[in-house]
Amino acid sequence: MYNNVLLSRYFPVKSKMHDMDPFAKMLSTIIFIVTLLITNNFTVMFILTIVTLIMLLRSNVPFGLYSKSVSGLSPLMALIIIITLLVGVNYYIILLVILKIVLIVIYTSILTFTSTPTEITYGFQKVLAPLKLIGVPTSKLALKMTMAIRYIPIMMEQAQRIIKSQASRGVDFANSKFDGKVFAFFSMIGPLFRLSNMRSKNLREAMEIRMYTVYNKRTSYRTKFWGFKDTFIVFLHLLILGVFITKEVLGHGSLLDNFFVRWIWF
């Protein structure tokens, strides 16, 4: 009823994906998402699906966890299907959009299941590093992101505790009608804001006491280093993106594309 939340969870096992450098993972994710968003090409989608599947299998994370994170988005997908059907969009486009959503969810799940929040932040900081040249405070942004990520489970836990204690006083979210649900929601949001405000104040003070502020320069402790597999994965992603762009720009490769489309659809 209240305990089916699965969000930003690191799954601690040993695997090739866990061993990868966080920067490489972050870079690959960004290239992957960019490629996925700009493409409507079936061949590229097919290749990206295969890449995702290989990475999924190499992550040693049980398949159940991935299916759970995808099934969590089923209402959104249903909504997209309904809207697109009402508007009268081509079935091919609907399939493409759904496939894109599923791939993005699975790919980002691979990233979050195989890297700890600190690793993600490290990767994020590295990806943003070039922006330093134009004066963007990247380490500040990364620190803010760590804190935000760290806050999600805390807030979830707090929200569940408040919902339960309000339910025991008669304002039950799960078992009441619409007006009761609205009231229960507001009775959860109020205390949640107050408590998170209080908590963030405490956190800020605790960090400042230990000289851990955004203005200080920090070094990072790393246990994973860039290796051949990282270069390979990033190169593979770049290759897919590069081939796609070249093909689009120069207009080549339509033969291959048509072959795939014909082969699968007809």
Binding site: M1, Y2, N3, N4, L6, R9, F11, P62, G64, L65, K68, Q158, R161, I162, K164, S165, Q166, A167, S168, R169, G170, V171, D172, A174, N175, S176, G180, S187, G190, P191, L195
Partner: protein, 282 residues
């Protein structure tokens, strides 16, 4: 009201690789009109048990009998508000749930969901405040600006207001000063003797618990280690300490006296009685 656990198991995130078994085939009966204590280290399943009793979570296996209600896996509770009306729970740090800007509104919050009429609500609020030892001047004060002990008492009053048959207190003495603690213990005793309530107290603090509870259930790793009358449960000190359970200091003292001198000081739960007993024996 009878509360019975019949081979109840509960797992968080059941069916996923992150599954955690909080309770494992627990069977027990909680006696009516008694102060029952649930004791055990963190993660032993105490909070899970009280959430099961209140229908906030449903068992993965087994049945929880609460009066006429039967709570089992995947079966929606027929009348959840009736169940919550009969069982009042005061959670750990109950002041976190405060939502309204006056004590009065805070106590009446949710009461209309239990079908109380407006004139009856006024009456209930005043008697609830009286029960926890606060006067009517508190009604219009801001609950956020009260002291820690007062906040806790307002939170307990907000549960007492709808007059539940069973009252569950999760770590009630946590973070309170000695005066507030004693006040709370007095209130719990009064609820049992005068108002004939069944009380379940969950706590780590065995020394404080031992003073006022009747029955004890000791949980360890989701299983019941020992249960029954407090004197019987804590009689086997060696068994409990071997299993990592902290024994009340008074019990430890009586046990050591018995070991060294052979004298049995008897069933004593209060330090003052113990001092009297020692004087008489000396």
């Amino acid at each position: 009201m009878e509360i019975k656990f019949d081979k109840v198991s509960f797992s968080y995130l059941a069916g996923t690789p992150l599954q955690v078994d909080a309770l494992k085939e627990v069977s027990t009966t909680i006696e009516s009109n008694k102060i029952n204590a649930l004791v055990g280290p963190s993660g032993s399943g105490k909070s899970t048990m009280i959430e099961l009793i209140n229908g906030l979570i449903l068992p993965t296996k087994g049945i929880v009998h609460v009066g006429n209600h039967r709570l089992r896996n995947n079966i929606r509770i027929v009348n959840s508000n009736q169940l919550r009306f009969e069982i009042g729970v005061v959670f750990q740090n109950p002041e976190e749930q405060f939502f309204c800007n006056t004590v009065k509104k805070e106590i009446e919050f949710g009461m209309k969901y239990f079908g109380y009429k407006v004139d009856k609500i006024e009456e209930r609020i005043e008697s609830a405040l009286k029960m926890v030892g606060l006067d009517n001047s508190f009604l219009n004060r801001n609950p956020f600006k009260l002291s820690g002990g007062e906040k806790r008492r307002v939170a307990i009053a907000s549960v007492l207001a709808f007059n539940p048959e069973v009252i569950i207190l999760d770590e009630p003495t946590n973070g309170l000063d000695i005066t507030s603690k004693e006040m709370l213990i007095k209130l719990i005793k009064l609820l049992k003797t005068k108002y004939k309530k069944t009380i379940i107290v969950v706590s780590h603090d065995v020394d404080t618990l031992y003073k006022f509870v009747d029955n004890v259930i000791i949980l360890s790793n989701g299983k019941i280690l020992a249960e029954g009358n407090k004197f019987d449960v804590f009689s086997d000190v060696k068994y409990l300490t071997d299993n990592g359970v902290k024994v009340p200091r008074i019990v430890e003292f009586i046990h050591k006296v018995k070991e060294k001198t052979g004298k049995n000081l008897g069933k004593i739960d209060d330090v003052n009685d113990l001092i009297k007993e020692i004087y008489q024996n000396v």
